[in-house]
């Protein structure tokens, strides 16, 4: 019960998202943990798409290695989809279409799609949508999705608009009844049935980009400059959608601004200009945009300007696959820029952390007076996850060391890059500060501690040394790793970001196989002392990540050279999220 997955194979642009989201939310409202992963093409309409819904009483969220229920609604891919179905599985398909499945080791359920669509009341141009509702109703009958929960999910989806709810639910009901009539024994015989639980009480169903955008809003973002790019666009869309409601000032003016820039260079350039002038400024992008932002990233670091960059990673190099996931920008983000550049990079592993790092990134950027990167990815950002509710910020906004005119008057002098506290961070003044001492010319050129152009070797060296003191301060301030120790373990697992789900599930599999493991999830760069400590405590540590070269493993070897030999890399990247089975098998081979 409550431990299986469904894949709906459809054609993109046909409205199947409505159907799939309705199924997910209905299951979620039955109290059962559920996650969805949309495998979609870089295309607007007409190409194959697969949506996998994973039901897991134990709360597993990784991509399932095997999916026993297939909705074969795309004739172009049906044959291959059927071939991938494990024995004992079930296939639902349009019985009045041209495709006929030929397998006798799976249950086959032809559905009268044309007939049900014809009587649905949908206008002819909307009939693809109606067809998708047929499999919703049939699935509801087969696996036991409560019709009332489905109705509620449709009300949610159509934000209460009565007519589309009635039309869609009408098809669901009709398909449900027809399935019961055609296959009266199927539900009872099905190995895959849902049973109501109470595991999602209080929880929410949300994607990472929405959570990240909301996090930025509750972090007080006042300026977003962005350029459209998959899979980051929905992050900026979240700000556009929620800011008018959440952040309109008392006099009716927005307390924010959004500018769609002409390219990613300008997007970060605007964020840097706004951060310099005192706004909480951000941009959101993906790999190709990150590449374009390189020069500004170096400037923001060297001129010490606060701003936040969200990188919702997709697989690269180059254009790569815009709609496929990876964790391949870790090294690029950490070192983005020329010369000796190192940045602060936050690595959310859950949608709740997308929200948390959404607000925390601004505090870190302003405290450290630098550019802060947040690396999400397509899997985390665009897929729906069951989650604890978004938690209100636990600390007040930290605007960092900013000198007012009154403070300047009291101090009697202003040295922009003095480091009286030894944390590498000088106090800044904002443009518009009326004190005659406040002015300074920010620059990407070499400068002394008074921010005046200097070619003196000792000025250059002293400035870089201070920037490294600041980097050391960042090590203490960034989110620390989450560590779960198993006292019986000699093997440690290390991962970051969206690979968390696969690693957690793999640990349970490995424990069942007699290999207990400890686990450390890295949540930010620069790495701190805790990481080396964890590695030293284990005979071997396996670093699991969704990229080709093992980028986190490389960073850990650099950071903890004394323990480099203990680090083993399991890095895999093919555009899909990792599975627990892959992780467990790889660890077994190495350990």
């Amino acid at each position: 019960m409550n431990e299986f997955a469904i894949t709906a194979a459809t054609v993109n642009g046909s409205g199947s998202q409505t159907a799939n989201n309705a199924i997910m939310r209905a299951i979620f409202r039955m109290g059962i943990p559920v996650n969805g992963k949309n495998l979609f093409p870089s295309n607007i309409q007409g190409e194959p798409t697969w949506f996998t819904i994973r039901v897991s009483a134990q709360g597993y969220s990784a991509r399932p290695a095997s999916v026993p229920i297939l909705v074969a609604f795309n004739p172009r891919t049906a044959e291959a989809d059927l071939a991938a179905l494990p024995a004992g599985g079930a296939c639902l398909y349009p019985g009045d279409g041209a495709w006929r499945p030929a397998r006798n080791d799976v249950a086959l359920y032809p559905l009268p799609v044309r007939e049900l669509v014809a009587t649905s009341g949908f206008e002819p141009r909307m009939r693809d949508y109606a067809a998708n509702m047929v499999y919703v109703g049939a699935l509801a009958a087969l696996i036991g999705i409560e019709l009332e929960a489905l109705h509620g999910a449709l009300v949610h989806h159509f934000t209460g608009k009565a007519r589309p709810v009635a039309l869609n639910f009408g098809v669901v009901q009709a398909a449900y009844e027809r399935f019961m009539a055609d296959f009266p024994a199927a539900p009872a015989a099905s190995r895959f049935r849902l049973q109501r639980m109470a595991a999602t009480t209080g929880q929410i169903l949300i994607d990472g980009n929405t959570a990240a955008g909301l996090g930025a809003i509750f972090g007080g973002v006042s300026f977003l400059a962005w350029y459209p790019i998959t899979p980051a666009t929905s992050l900026a869309d979240t700000l556009s959608a929620y800011l008018p409601r959440l952040r309109t000032g008392p006099a009716g003016h927005p307390t924010y601004a959004i500018v769609q820039a002409e390219d990613e260079i300008a997007a970060l350039g605007m964020a840097v200009g706004a951060g310099w002038a005192g706004a909480r400024a951000m941009t959101s992008t993906s790999g190709p945009g990150l590449s374009l932002m390189t020069e500004f990233a170096g400037l923001a670091s060297f001129a010490e300007i606060p701003c936040v960059v969200w990188d919702v990673q997709r697989i690269g190099p180059s254009t790569g696959l815009p709609t496929r996931t990876a964790q391949g920008d870790l090294l690029a983000a950490y070192f983005l820029g020329h010369g000796d550049t190192r940045h602060v990079v936050l690595l959310p592993g859950t949608v709740a952390e997308c929200f948390e790092f959404g607000w925390r990134a601004f505090d870190l950027a302003e405290r450290l007076q630098t550019i802060v990167f947040v690396l999400s990815d397509l899997d985390l950002g665009m897929n729906l996850w069951s989650s604890d509710p978004l938690a209100y910020p636990t600390t007040p906004m930290d605007r960092g060391k900013v000198l007012s005119a009154a403070e300047l008057e009291r101090l009697g002098s202003f040295v922009r890059f003095a480091d009286p506290e030894g944390d590498g961070i000088g106090a800044r003044t904002l443009p518009g500060n009326p004190h005659p001492l406040a002015a300074t010319l920010s620059r990407g050129t070499g400068h002394n501690e008074r921010n005046v152009y200097s070619e003196r070797p000792e000025d250059w060296k002293a400035n870089m040394d201070r920037l490294r003191r600041k980097h050391a301060t960042a090590r203490r301030l960034v989110p620390q790793p989450v560590v779960e120790h198993d006292p019986a373990a000699t093997v440690g697992l290390i991962s970051f970001g969206s690979s968390d789900g696969a690693v957690r599930e793999a640990r349970d599999q490995l424990r069942a196989q007699g290999l207990p493991t400890s686990y450390m999830r890295v949540r930010a760069l620069p790495l701190g002392e805790a990481t080396c400590h964890f590695i030293a405590q284990h005979h071997a540590c396996v670093v699991v990540e969704a990229n080709h070269d093992g980028q986190l493993c490389d960073l850990l070897r650099m950071h903890c050279p004394a323990h480099a030999a203990r680090l083993l890399s399991v890095a895999h990247s093919d555009g899909l999220p990792l599975t627990a089975e892959f992780v467990a098998e790889s660890v077994q081979e190495l350990a």
Partner: protein
Amino acid sequence: MTTARQPVNALGLTRADYRGAPSTLCAGCGHDSVTSQIIAAAFELALPPQRVIRMSGIGCSSKSAAYFLGRSHGFNSLHGRMPAVTTGAHVANHTLLPLAVSGDGDTGSIGLGGFKHLLRRNVPMVYIIENNGVYGLTKGQFSATADEGARLKHAGVNELPPIDLCAEALIAGCGFVARSFAGDAKQVRELIKAAFAFHGTAVIDVISPCVTFNNHDDSTKSYAYGKAHEEPLHDLTFIPRYEELVEEFAPGEVRDVRLHGGPMIRLRRLATDHDPADRMAAIALLEHARAAGEFITGLIYLSEGRPTLAESLGLGATPLAELPADTLRPPPEALAAVNDEFR
């Protein structure tokens, strides 16, 4: 006994209060002349230095941001990217007055896209291009504004037609387009003053000779050429307040252009009678000048109709950068309501 006192402006500041660090440009550089007129204009307008931000990119011209208005904040940013940085700064604090210096490489080559998008957005600022047709810091390559057939010692002959930055500005919808010559101090100064009073992006393309790499007599960006060929459209005077008008002119001799908020530009007719309110005439003027090889200067186009970026965004009086934390962070109830929407 009295000591000689420096003249002060309405704020009680002297001209020296508007200076910056000593210039490190070549002796005789046209950019230093422009710097002097920026200082003079800011002093005469009595601009509060702390309200001005001096913005620049990279290049000889952009270095000059350090040489004026030392009591103003500033940002010497990236090559060709000053428009983006200024756009962000304006949105964060629209009460600041951006004064930007750029060059023909910075604006006409690497930054042409950003330049045009800045104009499209109408970021209110003074945008001075110190245009010498050559890359100086990298020792004498042609820029995109170099004339077709122009010769340089190392680069040889330029085979490509120039980009006319005033024409680009006009086509991009800029409402204040002017061209001047670094050797024409009064015109440069009056145009800068008028540009500060303009409600939107004000572009002044100043032909500013590079004495080291592009000042030979057959260069159209040289002092000799400029002095011999400059054809001012009008004698131009910026008048901060209408009541300061004293001179009387015969009808038809002057054209007065009122600006947003009261100031005025008085254009005294010279050889031609160009109407700066006529955009098509402005484009035709530039095209004719190009075809005829003429070096016209003055106010080419002026129109104040468009909203600024901050106005387009509907921003309130308080700059975004000055909003307090309790305005920026919605209350816990707001998050509770949002959470409910995802159940």
